[in-house]
Symmetry: C2
Subunit: 532 residues, 2 copies
């Protein structure tokens, strides 16, 4: 590198701008790193030239359906969207203060929060590489704020370890790194890796481990002012003649291994949870709302599809129009149909698709999931425990507690996510009444935050297997079901094509729904043009 | 744990709340984890009962001085604060659009940014465990927003490695973890650690490493869909029949070690940089502004102290009053004096303190530091590279590039921190004219962001050794200088006591200044009461 700063004349400074090698090469490298996906996505938006008079009916006004509707209308199609619910957005849904809904079984779930507090029933956080979501949010003016996934002051908790005392996430992260570094240094120093690592690499490895693991001169991970600098303090360094700082004490290696807490760290390193993450200001439903607003003229709400019948010339969709409390059988017809109805529901409808498609539709089970939000009188997690946002993980059935990333430092009631889990634990919560779910989330959560009983105000929940319009949370794919059924499920079946998160490689995420909607729109557009 | 969910009756749910052990024990444990500091801090605020008529003069309206002023006035003292500058807040200072200032040597630094863009000249980020800062910010209503320190899409960059192509932080983090896990697994499996790890721990260790490092079944860290799930993709998973995902490829271990990038990771694990971090909405200067507003009646601006003279009854402070462009010699007198003037300046003044105190004052050198902010026409780092906040580290003299954490996703010009360094590299920037600094930051930064030249709009800078009111950035302590001089520097010298970040164990951070101010106020109050 030309070190122009040794004699900083203006000419030298300017000449440097042109001189140093690599910039062009670098730029080209960058444009191929992670942007290949995005560019194909953007190209996909330039749909043009629908055949004159061509029409498309889209079933479901979730993000997949509305992405397709938005882009296909731009291309010139006559687009109609039928939606079962009385709102668009689908699972991009926020349960707001004052909302209520009826779940399967007839129980009414209410949300008696103070205005502004909410539960995101479905998706709740956005990685910044979800370029599809980000694209439309920017385009539709959905305001974003950071979502704090990782907070080193949040907890990891195991009922049967550390006497049930929650451990700070940052402590566990530092200790795992410290012990792994100590052990690997030891192995390197006793020659245990001589056949794998050459002498030069060995030295760099030891140096790297020492810094990264915060090891002492003997390559040991032991409490010291240095470890405090990374791991924190029981008594923090002060000003003037305040009491001496006392570094916190590492968790013993054996206890750490026994606890199994190590495995929770992947919740922060998985790419979809990497910083920087975002959430829409006011709840995830703002995305659903924005899509709905942009597509308003195309959407018919309260339309319960009962039959989908295609023939050589088009698709007839039979539905019950429940607008205004009515119950009127209607038929809508179009040249093509994009169906985003969840497979749980779709497999119960009368639809004439090919046998392979029917098999594919039946091959995808839906995952179960529950969420409980708890509103408290004050942000005790911030005020008492200095926890601002972030997620605590536990082996109790609530699985996790997520502290709100919005309105931090504010006074007054606030809602946290008091439970969110999948699988068996979720079925248990699904079996409870709405009130019992709240009681259970409180009873469990109290072992992490003893302030719960005193500060509790209200609760609400979403258990996805009781949500009538999805009957489950999202489509589960295995490697073998993908191999056998995925391409079929996504293929155009004469005049009908499916879309949704279940027709994507990113199930359960809005990104999957949006990219599926876009891909479907693209392929259907091509087919429609070639069919003319 | 009582698994009440097996038979979820209301009675069982309620009984569980009382039953499960550990909650009380847990609560007590929590109150001693990291809160000992805070409670002594809060107790320190309950100053009461100043001796009747007792007066204190405070030199410097930075955070140390104003914390002391605020608390001592509450205790009943007559407090007067003299400030050299035409504003309070000291280094809690934001250079806003339209600002200008004159640095040592006579150069005028301007900030020709669009309204709303700024450079935080001094501190710029707040860890959530800086309880002193957080306390006053909440009390004084300083609005906060998250500061994004860690962004896995930001870069690590080495001029002479990877052909100068910047590497994603998240990639380096994943790869270090992966290779360390692979190597340690290997060492464990070949028996290289049999004397350090018992059989049971060994199994847990291997299992932990496999998950944490994202190793394959042979304990190798190799490109796979799994590594993509953690490390990201060259082509991201898509919807429908979009092109197949392509996981990104790990950096070879040897290249990673050679690059030395590993060492940069500590910038994200050091406790003071742990999430969740914050910044005041509108710039760090909002904190200085808030303190100034709260203490307004006590502060005399434009007061250049020339001599501090104590006697048995009090302290006389000679100063030049430059208010209204004047140049009037004045003397202020009080019973006691808290002096927060940086040691660089103070050691040049006439002050009659004890010899040991004089030695201590002369024993603390000040670190050098520079900052350059660059305003660009658009947020290309967000729009082109999906980087929202976070910090890129490089071995070029600019040392780092920090992307703004505020107003993300907005259109129009935005300013990033285009260079921020210490030590030799900082002296180099200090030697440049304000214009040259900007040119240099552009010339270097372009190797990371080729968009620089095309998008550049304006720049500004702060080089701390040219700032007349500090002549340096902050006090540097070594272990030996602490042992020899720290207690003396903080002691009450008859009627004078020093305060500031240089009188704290947290130099360079506002927390140090605030805690020093509070500690000094406390000790002086005790002394004043006992002196009656």
């Amino acid at each position: 590198m030309t070190d122009i700063l040794k004699s900083p004349t203006r000419r030298q400074l300017l000449s440097m701008i042109g001189k140093t090698a690599g910039a062009t090469a670098m730029y080209q490298a960058m444009t191929t790193l992670g942007f290949a996906s995005e560019s194909s996505f953007k190209a996909g938006m330039e749909l043009k030239g629908a055949p004159p008079g061509a029409s498309i009916i889209i079933l479901g006004a979730g993000l997949a359906g509305l992405t397709a509707a938005y882009e296909l209308r731009k291309a010139g199609y006559s687009v109609k969207v039928l939606e079962y619910q009385n709102r668009g957005g689908g699972r991009s849904w926020t349960v707001n203060a004052g909302d209520s809904y009826t779940e399967l079984g007839g129980e009414v779930v209410t949300c008696d929060f103070e205005k502004g507090n909410y539960l995101n029933g479905g998706p709740w956080r956005l990685p910044s590489h979800h370029y599809g979501v980000m694209h439309y949010c920017k385009k539709f003016g959905v305001a974003m704020e950071p979502f704090i996934q990782e907070n080193s002051r949040a907890y990891l908790h195991r009922v049967n370890h550390f006497n049930g005392v929650p451990q700070r996430l940052g402590d566990v992260q530092a200790d795992v790194k410290g012990y792994v570094s100590e052990l690997l240094s030891k192995a390197v120093n006793v020659g245990g890796l001589d056949r794998s690592v050459n002498t030069e690499d060995k030295e760099m490895l030891l140096e790297g481990l020492k810094g990264w693991g915060v090891l002492n001169k003997d390559y040991r991970y032991e409490r010291s002012h240095d470890t405090g600098t990374y791991r924190g303090f029981d008594i923090y360094p002060g000003g003037g003649l305040m009491p001496d700082a006392r570094p916190s004490k590492p968790i013993p290696l054996n206890a750490l291994l026994q606890s199994g807490m190590w495995s929770d760290l992947s919740n922060f390193t998985v790419h979809n949870h990497n910083p920087t993450m975002f959430q829409p200001v006011g709840g995830m439903g703002k995305i659903g709302d924005a899509f709905t607003r942009e597509c308003q003229e195309m959407i018919t709400l309260n339309a319960k599809v009962t039959r989908i019948n295609q023939d050589d010339n088009g698709v007839s969709v039979h539905y019950v129009d429940t607008n205004g409390g009515g119950n009127v059988a209607k038929i809508a017809r179009a040249d093509w149909c994009i169906c985003t109805i969840p497979l749980t529901v779709l497999t119960q409808l009368d639809i004439n698709v090919s046998k392979p498609m029917k098999q594919a539709m039946a091959a995808v089970p839906y995952d179960t999931s529950f969420k409980v939000a708890l509103e408290f009188k004050r942000r005790f997690w911030e005020q008492d425990e200095w926890i601002y946002g972030g997620v605590t993980y536990t082996d109790m059935p609530i699985t996790q507690i997520s502290y709100p990333s919005d309105n931090m430092f504010s006074d007054g009631p606030a809602a946290l996510l008091g439970g969110y889990g999948f699988g068996p634990t979720s079925y248990k919560f699904t079996a409870l009444t709405p009130k019992q779910r709240i009681a259970a989330a409180l009873a469990y959560g109290k072992h992490i935050h003893p302030q719960y009983p005193k500060e509790f105000k209200a609760g609400t929940s979403v258990v996805w297997h009781r949500i009538p319009w999805t009957l489950g949370c999202y489509g589960i794919w295995s490697e073998s079901s993908r191999a056998q059924y995925y391409d079929t499920l996504c293929s155009i079946d004469n005049r009908i094509v499916l879309a949704g998160e279940h027709c994507s490689h990113i199930p359960a995420w809005q990104e999957g729904a949006i990219l599926s909607g876009l891909d479907t729109a693209n392929r259907l557009h091509k087919r429609a043009k070639s069919a003319v």
